[in-house]
């Protein structure tokens, strides 16, 4: 995926606009070519969303399942990154799409289906984050599908470290620190930062997804960034 490609992470229409990324460096957040590619692929799929949504509203389950296939990888990506746990991400996935299926009759095309499903997912993720905060978990330990506990950060691949174990170790350590710093954010700050930095959503769309204004999303992003800078000051 070339750096200057068009990317439409959100549907066209009133809710959001296509975004042109002039440079991956400037974009700052998303530097994973696979992620960019996946987002571009979704753009073309979204063209026939309206038809699929209308069919799903008439009770056509196959149409709904097609919609699920358009967005479920993005949903899982977000949920896994936010919760750090595949089973938890699966729960969010299941709950989100079942909720969408049951209430798709209420979807009024006031925003894109993408924004709508992301709104459902982020609300569920926020619930998970709040519950986790109550539990005061301080170690990024999670359980996998088989029920075994593992350190989330051990799962970070070493593609960029090559055969350098020292570099790999440092990177893992850094990832742990970042995760801990992120967990100290409020659920809402975490969500805004996650959607903006790691998933490349425009602030306007972040506001729509979180049922707030672009300005509020911007301020929340500032706050989150300041907190992270403070928490990771010694890492620079």
């Amino acid at each position: 995926m070339p750096a200057g490609a068009w990317v439409v992470p959100f549907a066209v229409g009133e809710c959001s606009h296509p975004v042109r990324r002039d440079s991956r460096k400037e974009a700052g957040g998303i530097q994973d070519p696979q992620l960019w590619g996946a987002m571009t692929g979704q753009a073309s799929e979204r063209i026939d969303d309206t038809l699929l949504v209308r069919e799903a509203q008439r009770g056509n389950r196959a149409a709904f399942e097609e919609l699920v296939r358009h967005y479920d990888q993005a949903v899982l990506r977000l949920a896994v990154h936010l919760t750090g746990s595949e089973p938890e991400a699966q729960d969010v996935y299941q709950e989100a799409f079942l909720k969408a299926y049951k209430s798709i009759g209420n979807f009024r095309f006031e925003c894109s289906f993408y924004t709508w499903i992301y709104r459902i997912v982020t609300n569920l993720c926020l619930d998970h984050l709040r519950k986790r905060q109550v539990r005061k978990e301080d170690a990024p330990v999670a359980t996998d599908a088989a029920g075994e506990q593992y350190d989330v950060l051990d799962q970070v691949p070493d593609g960029r470290s090559g055969a350098n174990p020292e570099r790999d170790l440092m990177r893992r350590e850094l990832a742990k620190r970042i995760t801990r710093a992120l967990e100290k954010l409020t659920p809402r700050e975490r969500m805004v930062f996650e959607l903006k930095h790691y998933h490349g959503l425009k602030l306007r769309t972040v506001g729509e997804v979180l049922n707030t204004t672009e300005e509020t999303a911007k301020n929340t992003l500032f706050r989150a960034t300041q907190k992270l800078r403070g928490a990771l000051a010694d890492m620079r």
Binding site: A27, G28, G105, I178, H197
Partner: protein
Amino acid sequence: MKCEWVKENILLYVYNELADDARYELEQHLARCANCTTELKTTRSFHAMLSELPVEEPSPNLVAASRMRLQEGLETATQGRFWHRLIFDPAAWLRQVRFAPALAAAIFMLGFAGGIGTTYKVLSGNGGASIAAPVSAPAESSITGIQSITQDPGSNHISIKYNTVSTQEAQGSLNDQRIQQLLLFAARNNYNSGVRMDSVDLLTQEPNNTHVREALMYALRYDSNPGVRLKALDGLGAYVKSDPRVRDALLEALVQDSNPGARTEALHLLEPVRGDSSVRSVLQKLADSDQNQYIRSQARIMLAQLPEFD
């Protein structure tokens, strides 16, 4: 003042969220402010560092497992606004039930009950024209055959056993339309000549009925049993004068019937109308060349008795 504005907006600049004019202004400032350029570098390196926590694509296994679980969930999930869809999109509702086994079973039971409903019994009082239980007449197509016909001695009461899917019995007087219908059916369609004989015998008591007369003429022409044909002749005899169709049927029997007894009977029955031209020509022909001597002589006698025409 300017640097403060830049510091406030440098994050948005890094995220490419600045409007074009603000972006241009900021870049102009960066070109001449070393402090702000350092701040930009710091911000970018910080963001590069945060990206050390990568966003991984979900594994194919996770995607597949999640989809399967969702499909199971959707099996039992119901969409909201059910009544709305029911009212405005009944086709969708029908799609949901079109293969329902319960519906198939209900249709089967309904059909079975309908079959049972065709079973009936006619009851009537003794000796009278009244019918004890008014029963709807079965369609002829549902009758597979008549088993037996009996008349109570010295009364007008008739019993007919006939088959539909199973053997049934109808009772009533000869005046009963239902009974007449069964008799007519028996006269035309039954495989048992005894039953045909009985039905024709009974029908001869009601020859005033046009349908009955037609059934008798049918029996006379086509019945394979001479006894039945003779019975039909007996019933038709009284109408040879008033009904030309009866006369023609009798003439036909006289010429073509294979049974001499029937022919002789027909000849006698035609006596009242021997003056008719059609009868006279047949008689002439029979008198001249019939193989049966008795027929030949009887024909000659009848011709001789004809009055002379002026």
